[in-house]
Amino acid sequence: MWGALLRLGGRRGLAGAAPPPASPWSQVVSEAEKIVGYPTSFMSLRCLLSDELSNIAIQVRKLVGTKHPLLDTARGFVYDSRNNLQMRGLVVLLISKAAGPSTAELSFQHNMVSGIYSSQRSLAEITELIHTAFLVHRGIVNIGELKSCDGPLKDMQFGNKMAVLSGDFLLANACTSLAQLQNTKVVELISSAIGDLVQGIYYENSKSSEENCLTDDIGISTWKEQVFLSHSALLAKSCQAAMELAKHSAEIQDMAFQYGKHMSMSHKLHSDLQPFVKESSSDIMAFSLNCAPAVFHQEFLGRDAWIKQIREAQGKGNIMDYKKLQEAIKAGKGVTSAIDLCRRHGNRALAALESFPPSEARAALANIVYAVTRSALEAAIINEARSRDLGKWTGNQCLLIGHRRGRRQGGGRRFSCPGRPGWRWGGRRQVPPGASVPPVYHHEGELSGGRSFICLRAAGRVSPRCFYVFVCKITPCLTLGLLEKLAEKMCPAW
């Protein structure tokens, strides 16, 4: 059995796309920015320096000290722009570069800077403008629902006025730039993306405005539809539009769409999962009761039981005990299912990328997916290890992650991996007598003291898809990067 694993592990992954050691998100982004030419400043200067926006900046200052959400949006815009605001534009640029010029458009190649058409750069900017406009419009408050603790009514009205105006201003700028692209198909795509976004946000709003202790009775398929509208449609359609601008074929356009869609779906799942997989249990993040793990949880549990759990967590005084609720969800299968779904979307995004020729830009796009799916896998392993109480296992027991499909291919056995159909946790096994723990086992300092694990990577054609993890004991600092480092060192020994 271990021999078969070895053989699988020996195969090389996708050329050029072998995952680098797990890198923090910002590193993935800054490397990707280098590829597209220059550090991206998507909110065009034209827009930032305009009279209107500086007018708004002055007016927003008047809101300081009030509780209007526009203030937070503006703050996030200044301090958090790297992580949230520019990701969409960056992806549009990267996929433009990955696709390159189409054969039909070779004559226009001189228009390209760093392998990207200027129209595609505008499109990236438009995508960011639209995204930001809706960040602002999401923060409108309902005047009729205000309570006295929200501060003076006048402030909130003023905040609304500013939020509507600034959102409209960004949107109008996006429309103007869009018209300048002189491509009706692109205008159509992006307009429909705006419509999708509105519907998605509308749904979000109508949920949160209700009494926030109750969830909607939605299944995961409805959840997926809604998240597609609110989180994926804009990026998916922008990626497609970027292909249209370079006159790429319908197939390539569809692949770009698929990448944008699945990448952003896995992103959303990833962020929904954060409260459930974060290591520090001291501060419990409040989470939406319509996040993916909760929706899965409800699906497994049944609605009535779920409502009962919420009521129990709420206790007296209508204050939600999120820790209690979180434990309830963690005890069920919701978290695992959400992790699986996250990886499944990540893998579909990677599969869509295979239609593009290997390049730096394509590798960067893959890394953006890995940044999410890796941490999803880490979460999966930690979650599983925790639920099986691996800390109490003895040194010669292991956890198999992966599922043998039983079909022989090329002499080796194929194993399915987390997120793939038919995949399941392998359960506890005895370490085979011959497979002694290699020396590297105690090599890492933080792994000493009996709290350690070993893993073996069994790569399929796309290396990160298929993991075979052999965990002896869990360590608190278990990360996928560590797993892989170990796996690489161990492979020769096995």
């Binding site: 009279d51 939020a163 103007t176 205008v187 419509g195």
Partner: protein
Amino acid sequence: MALRWGGWWWRWRCGASARRAPPPLPPPHGSVPGPGSRSSPPALGGAMCHFAQRSSALSFQKICNIFWRFHHTSTSQMCSCSKTVSDEKYQDPFQLGRKDLKNLYEDIKKELLVSTAELREMCEYYFDGKGKAFRPMIVVLMARACNIHHSNSREVQASQRSVAIIAEMIHTASLVHDDVIDDANSRRGKMTVNQIWGERKAVLAGDFILSAASLALARIGNTTIISVLTQVIEDLVRGEFLQLGSKENENERFAHYLEKTFKKTASLIANSCKAVSILGCPDPKVHEIAYQYGKNVGIAFQLIDDVLDFTSCADRLGKPAAADLKLGLATGPVLFACRQFPEMNAMIMRRFSKPGDVERARKYVLQSDGVQQTTYLAQRYCHEATREISKLRPSPEREALIQLTEMVLMRDK
């Protein structure tokens, strides 16, 4: 001085034209460099500076004199044009366009494809057939007039009808957002969307109508039309920004008011007229005629709207009277009244924010000739519109458009 004013006047009028506008007709005052000499309009800030410089030398008195003089020169031209068609009978312009506008609201609702029942209800709320449909009417009449001018065909093309639909949708989307911005309670005799469903949803409904409009716009499949109508969206927002600020200097204030009026109201009519003329006729001269007609009618329309805010009662308007004052806005009648009652200056500057300001200002306006002056100004814009449209080949639709300018002046709601 008159020449100087004339220069300013034409510069302003033409500078507001769309970015990629074809070179317009030479202005009647030959001494002015045509707007075509400016490759692209400067950013708004620049335009405003320019504005201020040109107009600061003029006193209000002189502005009015010049308006008068301008009026005189243009009416004489206009009369000569309209005589050629004097044998044609006046028709109800609304009758002529009615056939094309049948099912207008049904078709708009078809554009608003949305899965959520509540969102659909909100989006369709103002498309209940009770609006005046003033904009679609002008647009289809203009479409027919241009088609006849070019090819003697009276039929409205499908794409031209789409422009009428889009114009009404953009207009409605801006109404929904304006009501949130102004925290308005009633419009067209019913509660506003934000009153019923709350501000959050109302803003989204506005955004959705706008996205549906731009989807319909893209489906026309003509990039020029997209550019022309996108200009409207930008103008609407910029107009709303202009409304936020106020100017200290009297003359700047008037220029500011007119620019705001153009951007918030006239741009939509002007550019959708231009769009249908582009679809109906390849001649850039015709496009400029359509644009100028729409712009002048649009400004007149808004001036009368501002007058009605003082003279009409809430029942008739379907919204509260003196609403502009309550929002702190100094419209035409106020600006004219301020000439007679300089004590209003302070009120304008503090945007009628002190208790009693609104009532006092209203009283001053009704005592002054502000209402008449504004109506008079609106008349001149209508004459100018008539003069422009008279350059087209005679047709019942052209006469209807001329008559429509009269109706703009006569309307009481």
